[in-house]
Each structure stands twice: as structure tokens, then as C-alpha cells.
């Protein structure tokens, strides 16, 4: 199957320009296709249009918060299966719990090592693939 040969697309939604720039540089070096959005609304549109394989979502953003984005992703039938990794400077389990309740698959706190993020992305992709193939066999 060509599936694993396809370049995986990562959508990063973060209001911090430098964070976006760095993530793009690093993830592209690892072979990912990287899309970035500077706010929630932009991110939701990009997700809808581009159908990324994984979303990296900042929680603390002006206007549309990460949690709001997450909720709307979950509500959208086209988008609800895209795994979301919460990337946040926030500390504390309450926030994490809320993220998981809203359907995030993973969570990483800034500052993080790129290798940790990569690992989480791989896990998230693997899980998504499993679920997809599960659904595929179930549907068949």
C-alpha cells in the first residue's frame, strides 16, 4: 500500500509565530508536511480543507481557545478522527483532563524536546491507523 509512503501532514495551530516557524523547520526535516495556523479559526478552515493526519494544538490562544477548537473538531464528522495532540505551556492536570475529555489523544508541555514530540506524533498516527483499519474491517 502506498499509504505509509505518503508524506504525513501535520497541522500546527499556535498563536506564537516563532513556535510555528521552528515546528515547521523541525518537522519538515523529519519528513512531514507541515501546515501552520496562527489562530483557531484559521486552523479549523485549514483542517477542513487539507485533512491533516495529525493536529498540534495550543490551548492558550486569544479569541478561539484550544479547547474550543478541539470541541469543534470533534463535532465535525470529517475531522473528528484526526488525532489531536495538545501542546501547551500550561501546567496542571485539570487542563490535561479537560483536553482528554474533549478527545485529545496526547499531550505535551512546553518546553519539550523535539524527539518527544516526534514520538507522540508517531504514536498518535499509529493509533489513528489502527482505528481506521478497525473501522475498515468492521465496515466490510
Amino acid at each position: 500500500m502506498a499509504e505509509h509512503l505518503r508524506r504525513r501532514t501535520v497541522l500546527m495551530i499556535d498563536d506564537e509565530a516563532n513556535a510555528r516557524k521552528l515546528a515547521k523547520l523541525l518537522l519538515e526535516r523529519e519528513g512531514y508536511r507541515v501546515l501552520t495556523a496562527a489562530n483557531g479559526e484559521e486552523g479549523l478552515i485549514l483542517a477542513k480543507v487539507q485533512q491533516p493526519d495529525v493536529v498540534l494544538l495550543d490551548i492558550l490562544m486569544p479569541k478561539t481557545s484550544g479547547h474550543e477548537v478541539l470541541r469543534r473538531l470533534q463535532e465535525d464528522q470529517d475531522l473528528k478522527d484526526i488525532p489531536v495532540i495538545i501542546v501547551t505551556a500550561r501546567r496542571g492536570e485539570q487542563g490535561i483532563a479537560a483536553s482528554f475529555r474533549l478527545g485529545a489523544v496526547s499531550h505535551i508541555e512546553k518546553p519539550y524536546e523535539t524527539k518527544d514530540l516526534l514520538q507522540k506524533i508517531q504514536v498518535a498516527l499509529a493509533l489513528a491507523q489502527q482505528e481506521e483499519s478497525g473501522r475498515a474491517t468492521g465496515d466490510a
Binding site: E16, N18, A19, L22, A23, L25, L26, R29, L60, A89, R90, R91, G92, E93, Q94, E109, K110, P111, Y112, E113, T114, K115
Partner: protein, 542 residues
């Protein structure tokens, strides 16, 4: 007494003398004027009268220091003149001037109290004779006056004066002594003012001192007795001063001073107590303030800082592959940046955990399992450092309501502190047992004391090490936020602050017992559920 005399003699040398000349012969008067004019040292003011009657008038007005008088005057002859002048001005020296060289008359005149007797024609030849004679006359006269005055002075002195000979026999008592010590004559040497006088005299003679002073109690009074001894005349003289009142006053003053000092001390002690109390309260307030400040700071800036930290770390990550290939130094520099980021983040995380402690999820938990989980995490590190781990959990320890995760954080913090204190290895023991409190266990380094009441049963969990211990001076500060003795990058000083916050969140207490060089023991006490406490082993905790 000697010094008194000295004082009196001083007055004698006043250079100006008023001289009254009684002389009916103007030529002789002229002669006297001239004779006196020759003197350089003493100035004489000469007043001349030619009759005794006039002289007496003048004398009555006073101010005359010396009288020069002829014996043969129109209104008085011979010794009668002397007698009349003397009667008018007793104490004023008289020098008789005469034309005759009459020995008999001279002697008679001197017997009448005349100071000197001068023949006029000698004066003509030796003018100095007159002046010298006058000066001697005045001095002699004064001396006699002083002696009389002094004798009566001593007699009239209000303080007792007494004199005995060397064997203690009384030779003189002044009036005050006679009246104040009326019993002196009969009682002899046993009288308080005479007792020991001979010894005193001998002591004075041996030591060469001029006088000594002692206190003598007599009939309810106190005297100060100044004793002097005169070896040549073998006389012992005492001068007594009634100091009863002074002594009483001194005593009163001493009592007052003592009372004042006692009151002062009491006030000082009270003040000190109040001050200490204030300081304690203040210390607590400061601590609370610190906490609040830390909390505010934390929530305010933490997220703002963590974002850029994340970016820095991403940059490091990005540059890493390229720079590593360019040599060890580049890799090292990157590592330094990375560590700086991690340290900063650790501080921020500490702040956040501390300022907004996550709510506890209390579940009935076995403390033994929490200990096991914690030890499992540090096992590798212990082996590496040569530290033996010991665990001892009593059989009767029940399940208690704990947040497993946070309690594990507590133990890890304590264990890591213990490890840091044992750089060359040692032993770490964790114990847990039940204890029935007998008294509030006030210990040094205690964090909170009032949580438990005597009679209550608590779960104790101890983490003990054989490390360096904590110096007495810093022990009270180890729980303060950001207090650390570790080098930058190794500790931020929030471990114990957070630990205490968690334990207290469980309704427990934590204290550190430590002695420098003798290791440290952290003691945690946690409440045991009331049911169990009352019913003993049988009942289960919720």
C-alpha cells in the same frame, strides 16, 4: 583641724593698712608720715589726730588696723592713754611712741597689751624700724586673735571632737562631744567611740596614713569617726559626724533603686516577651506573604516564560544535528543551553505546582504500596550512589485516605534530598507505623504543630538518612520557598515547600529532625480515619 588653720592664715597678707596716729606734736607727726612713706611693700594710709578723744572717736567708726600713739597728750597721759585706746578698740594692735627711753614704762605698757614701744629719735635714724614694728604688731595681734577664735571654734563646733592620749585617757572633749556622749567619762575604753582607738592609732602609725575613718553605731544613731594620731604628742584626735540621716537616706535610696531595677527588669522581660511574640507573628506573616507573592508571581509569568523556553529548546533541537558534526565543543554549548532551559522550566513548574496545588484525589491507600512505588523509582540511582534502601512498615498499618500520586511525590522529594546528603553512600530507611499521641510532638524544624490532639492515633512515616545532616542555623529555613544549599541547576529550593504543602493538604504534619554530621530524619504524620481509631483493627476504612 590643721587645714582649717591654713585657710585662716591666708587672709593675713593683705597689703593695705589703715593706721591711726595720735600725736599732738605736728613735727613728730610729720616724722612718722615720712618714715611710713619710705616703705615700698606695704601701703599705709595714715590718719592723724592730736587728741586721744579724737582718736577714740575715729576708732569707734572702725576700719583702723593699727594705732600709733604718743603717751603724753594734752587730754591723756602715760599708761592711761594705752588703757583708753585699748578699751575702745580691743584687738587693734597698739604701738606706743615716746620721746623717752624709759625701760620701766615700756614694760608696763607691754603688760597692758601694747604690741611695741618705740623711741621717736630712733625712728628718725632708722625709719624702717617703725614699719617693721608695725608689721610685726599686726601679725602678732592677728595670730593671737586666731588662736582664741580657733579654740572657741573647736569648742563650738556642732560635731563632737575628742582627744585622748596614747593610752586612751580623754584629754579633751568639745561641747558637742560632752553633750552627745554624756556617758563618756564613766565608761572609758568600752565606749563605742573610744573602743579600739589605741589599735587605730597603732595602725595609723604603722601605715603612715594621716587618718582613718570608721562607722560607729551609738544609741540608734550612726557616726562617722575620723581618727588621726599625732605621734610626737602621743595624742589621738577624733572628729565625729552624725551620719544617721544620711545612712537612712542611702538605705532608702538603695531600696528604691532595687525596687526600680526589679520593676525595670520585669518590664523589660514583658517587653521582650511581647517582642518575641510579635516577631513570631511577623515571621508567620512574612512566610504567608512570601507564599502569596510566589503564587501571584507564578500564575502571572509562568506561561509567558514557558513559551519562549519552548522555542529556545526547539532551536537547540534544530541546530543539534548540524552543530554536533562540527565538534564536541558545539555539542557542549548546545547542552549548556538545553540545561539552562530545563532549569528555568523546573523553577516555573515548581512555582506553578506550589501556587496552584492540584486538588487531592483521596482514596483508601496502603502506604506500603506508595513506599514501594517510590523506592522502585529511585532504586537504580541508589545502587549507583552506594546507598542501601531499607523499608519497615508495621503490620497494623491500615489503609489511609491518600492521593497516591502526590504522596509519592512527597516521598520522592524526601528521598532525593536524602540522596543528595549522602554523596559517598549510606543508608536510607523508610518506616511507617501507628502512634498514639501522648503530647503535641514539638520538634525542631517542625512545620505545623497543632493538627493533632493528644490521645489521637496517627500514621507516622519516616524517611531517615545517614547523610551530612542540616546545620542548626539553616534548619528553620529549609521549608521556605527557594531556600536551597545546592548549586544553581541542582536544586531550586521548592522540594520541601511543595512536600509540606501536600502533606498539610492531607491534614498531616511534617518535620525535620537533624543534627549536623548525624543524618536527618523527616517525620510525616497523617490522620487515620476516626472509625478505625475508635474501633480498633476490626473496622474497615471507607
Amino acid at each position: 583641724m590643721i587645714y582649717f588653720l591654713e585657710g585662716l592664715i591666708e587672709g593675713m597678707d593683705d597689703g593695705h593698712l589703715n593706721v591711726l596716729l595720735i600725736e599732738d606734736d605736728p613735727q613728730d607727726a610729720q616724722l612718722m608720715q615720712e618714715a611710713l612713706g619710705e616703705t615700698a611693700n606695704t601701703s599705709f594710709a595714715l590718719e592723724w589726730v592730736d587728741r586721744v578723744s579724737k582718736g577714740l572717736e575715729r576708732l569707734a567708726r572702725g576700719g583702723i588696723d593699727l594705732v600709733l600713739t604718743d603717751l603724753q597728750l594734752p587730754d591723756s597721759q602715760g599708761l592711761e592713754t594705752v588703757a583708753r585706746v585699748h578699751a575702745q578698740a580691743e584687738g587693734v594692735p597698739i604701738i606706743v611712741l615716746t620721746a623717752l627711753d624709759d625701760e620701766g614704762m615700756a614694760i608696763q605698757a607691754l603688760q597692758k597689751g601694747v604690741q611695741d614701744y618705740l623711741v621717736k629719735r630712733y625712728i628718725k635714724v632708722y625709719p624702717n624700724l617703725l614699719v617693721r614694728s608695725m608689721r610685726y604688731a599686726i601679725e602678732r595681734r592677728r595670730g593671737e586673735g586666731e588662736l582664741i577664735r580657733l579654740a572657741s571654734f573647736l569648742e563650738q563646733c556642732p560635731d563632737p571632737v575628742l582627744e585622748t592620749d596614747g593610752s586612751g585617757v580623754i584629754t579633751y572633749l568639745n561641747r558637742a562631744a560632752r553633750t552627745q556622749f554624756a556617758d563618756l567619762f564613766g565608761s572609758a575604753a568600752t565606749h563605742p567611740v573610744l573602743w579600739g582607738l589605741k589599735d587605730a592609732a597603732q595602725r595609723l602609725q604603722r601605715s603612715g596614713a594621716t587618718s582613718l575613718t570608721r562607722e560607729v553605731p551609738y544609741r540608734g544613731k550612726t557616726y562617722e569617726q575620723h581618727i588621726s594620731y599625732y605621734p610626737q604628742s602621743d595624742l589621738i584626735r577624733s572628729y565625729l559626724i552624725d551620719v544617721t540621716e544620711r545612712k537612712q537616706m542611702e538605705q532608702r535610696e538603695r531600696e528604691l533603686a532595687a525596687a526600680a531595677a526589679a520593676a525595670e527588669r520585669k518590664r523589660a522581660a514583658e517587653l521582650d516577651e511581647a517582642y518575641q511574640e510579635l516577631k513570631r507573628t511577623q515571621a508567620m506573616l512574612i512566610q504567608a506573604e512570601k507564599m502569596a507573592a510566589v503564587g501571584q508571581l507564578a500564575s502571572g509569568i509562568a506561561h509567558e516564560v514557558r513559551n519562549p523556553l519552548g522555542i529556545i529548546l526547539q532551536c537547540v533541537n534544530y541546530l543539534e544535528p548540524d552543530l554536533q558534526s562540527r565538534g564536541a565543543q558545539h555539542a557542549e554549548v548546545l547542552q549548556v543551553i538545553r540545561e539552562a532551559v530545563m532549569t528555568s522550566d523546573k523553577i516555573i513548574r515548581g512555582l506553578l505546582d506550589f501556587s496552584r496545588p492540584t486538588p487531592l484525589e483521596l482514596k483508601p491507600t496502603s502506604i506500603a504500596s506508595v513506599i514501594d512505588a517510590s523506592l522502585a523509582l529511585v532504586q537504580a540511582q541508589a545502587a549507583e550512589k552506594g546507598i542501601r534502601l531499607m523499608k519497615d512498615v508495621a503490620d497494623d498499618v491500615p489503609l489511609v485516605l491518600l492521593d497516591e500520586h502526590q504522596m509519592q511525590q512527597v516521598l520522592i522529594n524526601l528521598i532525593l534530598n536524602a540522596f543528595a546528603a549522602m554523596p559517598t553512600g549510606g543508608r536510607l530507611s523508610i518506616r511507617s507505623y501507628l502512634r498514639r499521641l501522648t503530647e503535641p510532638g514539638l520538634r525542631i524544624g517542625l512545620r505545623s504543630a497543632d493538627a493533632f490532639r493528644p490521645g489521637q492515633t496517627v500514621l507516622v512515616c519516616e524517611v531517615e538518612d545517614t547523610g551530612t545532616g542540616i546545620p542548626k542555623e539553616i534548619l528553620p529555613r529549609v521549608f521556605h520557598p527557594f531556600f536551597t544549599t545546592k548549586p544553581p541547576g541542582e536544586g531550586i529550593g521548592l522540594g520541601l515547600t511543595i512536600t509540606a504543602a501536600i502533606v498539610e493538604g492531607h491534614g498531616g504534619t511534617i518535620s525535620l529532625e537533624s543534627e549536623e554530621g548525624n543524618g536527618t530524619k523527616a517525620v510525616i504524620t497523617l490522620p487515620v480515619s476516626q472509625d478505625r481509631d475508635r474501633n480498633g483493627e476490626g473496622s474497615a476504612s471507607r
